[in-house]
Amino acid sequence: MSARWGMVIDLDRCTGCQACVVACQAENNIPINTEDIFHQRRAIEWIRVERYWEGEYPNVKARYIPIPCMHCAQAPCESVCPVYATYQTNQGINMQIYNRCIGTRYCAVNCPWHVRFFNYWEPKWPESLKHQLNPHVSVRSRGVMEKCTFCVQRIVRTEQQAQVDGREVQDGEFTTACAQACPTDAIVFGDLDDPESRVGQMAADTDRGYQLLSGLGTDPAVLYLKKIDPDAPEENGHY
């Protein structure tokens, strides 16, 4: 029960294929981001793949970085919400309670990672897609914030199953939609507090780990592993 859920994202494995984005959209009932919505710059992507160009033509390289919510232990979004609509669970998840949210949008203003999204419009699905909505996730209405929940519905269901079976939750028993969909296994999800878990071991073993904007002191739960650049000069025997 007292896990600290976290994620390790290996940028060396990320190909920028956006499978995580699509999986997340499907799992979490995220409204469809139409072309129009993108033009309004109001797309909702709980995890997004940012693409940066490096170098000058013709030696251009695309760099990808998937950015979900960091689930900071000291989250800047939490303390500014006037109604506790966003708060830290005892498992280290930064939760957004949709039915409590009143829409001041201060949390999103105060989030340095831009991973909080506001429902500017009432979300609509075409008739044919209504039956694909995930019944385990609330459909948000307009006027509320939403964000990555580390697929809390999966965590809760696994825990409940474990409780019914009278056992502990196993590492790797479930994973988030983005990690599940990643074809190169770049995203790994698990319990950071458990040294035996896969994320725990990856975080402990790597010398490439870093956190985004770690200087802000918010203690993010997402650890990135630096890209290994084959063109870079040799360093510590790698490549």
Partner: protein, 176 residues
């Protein structure tokens, strides 16, 4: 005496003005309570007590998911027909049931406990903890014939019970 009358009246008016919104909120909360609403008319009047007492059926015999899943579930028509092929076939209600079955139509049961979309109530956790169904649904075995909501089951009610039994009151236990 007249000297005090005016401030008294003004004070009273102010008091009433202040009391009005409070009363309105309390009245709304009281009269909109789910237990106050009339029970929905079901397509088939299903007598719970008779099934529990005469047929000696367990709740779980029909609501099969209750111990394993979040949803207790409604029985399939085939389950009803197991018995009612031969039992009580003459009555009007059972004829309706047979009509549904033979036409292959689902029975559109009216939902009795309206849970909003953003609330995830999980039956299995509660049943496995050891709660009797009657704790929330009332005594369907001996007292309540036709399903109706007997317990408030709004958030305050949930929270009170969770506090009483030391269950988590984290928002994300139910809302996600």
């Amino acid at each position: 005496m007249r000297r005090f009358m005016r401030p008294l009246i003004v004070g009273l008016v102010l008091l009433i003005l202040l009391a009005l919104p409070v009363t309105a909120v309390l009245a709304r909360s009281y009269f909109l309570s789910p237990t106050w609403q009339p029970a929905a008319e079901q397509p088939i009047a299903f007598p719970h007590t008779r099934h529990a007492q005469v047929a000696q059926l367990d709740c779980e015999y029909c609501h099969r998911g209750v111990a394993e899943d979040g949803y207790a579930g409604m029985p399939a028509l085939e389950l009803c027909m197991d018995c009612h092929q031969s039992i009580q076939t003459g009555s009007a209600e059972i004829d309706t049931l047979i009509d549904y079955f033979e036409n292959g139509d689902p029975v559109n049961w009216e939902r009795v406990h309206q849970m909003p979309d953003h609330v995830h109530f999980v039956h299995s956790s509660h049943v496995n903890y050891g709660f009797d169904c009657a704790e929330c649904h009332g005594d369907m075995e001996t007292e309540i014939d036709y399903a109706e909501q007997v317990r408030d089951l709004r958030m305050g009610d949930c929270i009170d019970c969770h506090k009483e039994y030391g269950a988590p009151t984290d928002c994300s236990v139910c809302h996600y």
